[in-house]
């Protein structure tokens, strides 16, 4: 088992990424941040609406959409990928609906059947024809975030014009005196993050009320079904965009981890959304260093780093952290009442 954990060399792990490969590291971190933050924002609502399994399902089944789109169009154009993944998302939703409605198979099993079928189909397509579209099984699993800067190419006209209007996203990016064109993957992810953020800002109260109490939302005239399918649609887009960076399976981690961490720390939704972004940024940076140190998949390392931040929040959370619970219950055993009080017990099933 020797050699699994290499020595933690300060120079190699913490300095070199920013000295020797600064641009590449910057893009990796930015891509990781954008992907995790976008997923995390959407994921917060999945968690609140108890749709985590749906998130799992959609993030898996976009693979079939991507593979199908590659095969049909013969290109890795992002437009095709979006179309394919949206189609896969819709097919998943329809399959779940059909199985759930026409049989007594319960919702969770229906979801399980639908997405594993589509995912298996995607893997089969890729293993049969993957060579043609430059996709392989590894990429499905852990993405190629480390390769992001390699794909730097001039932006499509339309995208760069769009980017020129967004102050934060000047297509010409200056990094330590080196002119660099923003990689299109990163740019796309950044745009998606902004779009998601803007949507959440604009429809904040509709999302809030329909997640909290769907029947109240309907009685207020807010179409809860539209909100639901809107979230599913955005989820498909987010999943396919993050696919390149982190693969199909780690997306579920990025959907849940930031939100779960933030929801441990706060009980106010605006604060939670802010903490989600913070968690995304922290796990992107620490993930890069962890990946460099252990010389493993950087996407995986970002998730593990995010898990580390989650664990910190879990243990040291001042309000109801594990440590506090232990300290509180140490003198008197009967005082181990969870701070969640009435609500948490009622909803434990």
């Amino acid at each position: 088992m020797t050699g699994l954990v290499p020595p933690l060399e300060w120079q190699r792990v913490f300095v070199e990424p920013w000295a020797a490969n600064s641009t590449s590291s910057a893009w990796i971190v930015l891509m990781g941040f954008f992907a995790t933050a976008t997923c995390g924002l959407v994921g917060n609502y999945l968690i609140l609406r108890r749709m985590v399994l749906v998130g799992d399902a959609i993030s898996h089944s976009v693979l079939a959409g991507i593979a199908g789109a590659f095969l049909l169009s013969g290109s890795r154009g992002s437009a095709w990928m979006f179309v394919g993944s949206l189609a896969a998302g819709i097919i998943t939703a329809l399959l779940i609906e059909a199985i759930h409605r026409h049989t007594r198979v319960k919702q969770d099993s229906a979801i399980g059947i639908a997405f594993t079928s589509l995912f298996a189909l995607g893997v089969v397509l890729i293993s049969l024809y993957g060579g043609r579209v430059d996709l392989d099984q590894e990429c499905v699993l852990y993405g190629e975030i480390a390769n992001v800067p390699v794909t730097v190419e001039p932006l499509p006209e339309s995208l760069s014009r769009l980017a020129a209007h967004v102050p934060l996203l000047q297509a010409e990016f200056l990094w330590r005196g080196v002119d660099l064109v923003m990689p299109p993957d990163v740019l796309r992810m950044a745009l998606l993050l902004m779009a998601t953020g803007a949507l959440i800002g604009v429809f904040y109260k509709e999302l809030l009320v329909s997640s909290f109490d769907a029947s109240l939302a309907v009685s207020l005239g807010i179409p809860a079904a539209v909100v639901h399918y809107g979230i599913m649609g955005i989820l498909s887009l987010v999943a396919v965009s993050a696919f390149e960076a982190v693969g199909a399976i780690l997306v579920i981690a990025m959907l849940i981890l930031p939100g779960a961490t933030a929801q441990l720390l706060s009980q106010r939704l605006p604060v939670i959304l802010g903490l989600t972004l913070l968690h995304a940024a922290l796990s992107a940076v620490t993930g890069l260093h962890l990946g460099t140190w252990l010389d493993c998949s950087i996407a995986g390392a970002m998730v593990v780093a995010g898990g580390g931040w989650f664990a910190l929040a879990w243990v040291f959370n001042p309000r109801e952290g594990l440590l506090r619970r232990v300290l509180r219950s140490a003198p008197r055993h009967d005082a181990a009442q969870p701070a969640g009080g009435i609500g948490s017990k009622e909803h434990s099933r």
Partner: protein, 256 residues
């Protein structure tokens, strides 16, 4: 008020998963009444108010609110759902929930105004929740949670209120506070329909009673309706045939 009755239901039949649970309900509720909806378990009490608000699709019949279809007059309806229907761990504070009552008035994509905040503040004060305004809702007692819903309904500033078992699981103080509030709403000319589980208190709490068991057994002033015969009919009626047929309908449309 404007002539038209607050709530008019005609021949409403509602099916849950294809199984009819309410048959041919006819109901006209005059303005300014405090109506208790009473009936045994499974009588369709909650179903009736949900269908009246359009939350459940009707198999037949129609509902009018102040003379117009429900959809057009949603803003004049306030709703207090059952306390178990929401997740009390949801990351919102009391103020956020009460403010939700204003969302119907705020409009799509807009933020609540200072006036909306002021109304929410006033409503929290009315139910005595002001000291808890910034508490997360899980940190409240059962009675306080119920009052959050009441404050939210007040913030809706509606003319017609539907309340689904507001007295379930609350302490005596909250119960009398809710009654006082209902009386006050009534004196302001509001119409309130309350699903109520407890038969003994029904007569003293409400001025009008609706006895329901898969169909309307009786509707009228409490003292007239609260009779042994009608209660017997509501709670002891032979409905086996009706539920058998409801099962047959659901079997026919689902499995064969």
């Amino acid at each position: 008020m404007d002539g038209a009755p607050p709530l008019e239901i005609h021949d409403l039949t509602v099916a849950y998963h294809e199984r009819p649970v309410l048959w041919g309900v006819d109901l006209v509720v005059p303005a300014g009444r405090l109506v208790g909806i009473v009936g045994p378990n499974g009588a369709g009490k909650s179903t009736l108010i949900k269908a009246a608000m359009g939350l459940l699709p009707a198999a037949s019949g129609w509902v009018k609110v102040f003379g117009a279809p429900v959809r057009q007059n949603l803003r004049r309806i306030g709703y207090v759902p059952q306390r178990e229907s929401v997740d009390w761990d949801f990351p919102v504070c009391v103020r956020d929930v009460v403010l939700m009552g204003r969302y119907g008035h705020v409009g799509l994509m807009r933020r609540p105004s200072a006036q909306d905040h002021a109304i929410a503040q006033r409503c929290m004060d009315e139910v005595g929740l002001l000291p808890f305004a910034d508490r997360q809702i899980a940190d409240l007692s059962g009675g306080q949670q119920q009052r959050v819903f009441l404050a939210r309904a007040l913030a809706q500033e509606s003319d017609l209120y539907f309340m689904d078992e507001p007295f379930s699981g609350v302490d005596a103080a909250t119960e009398s506070a809710i009654i006082a509030l209902l009386q006050q709403l009534k004196s302001r000319g509001k119409t309130i329909l309350v699903v109520h589980h407890d038969l003994p208190t029904a007569r003293e709490y409400f001025d009008t009673l609706l006895l329901l068991n898969m169909r309307v057994v009786a509707f009228g002033p409490a003292e007239e309706v609260f009779t042994y015969d009608l209660l017997q009919k509501t709670y002891g009626g032979r409905l086996t045939i009706l539920s058998d047929m409801a099962d047959a309908v659901s079997r026919q449309s689902r499995s064969p």
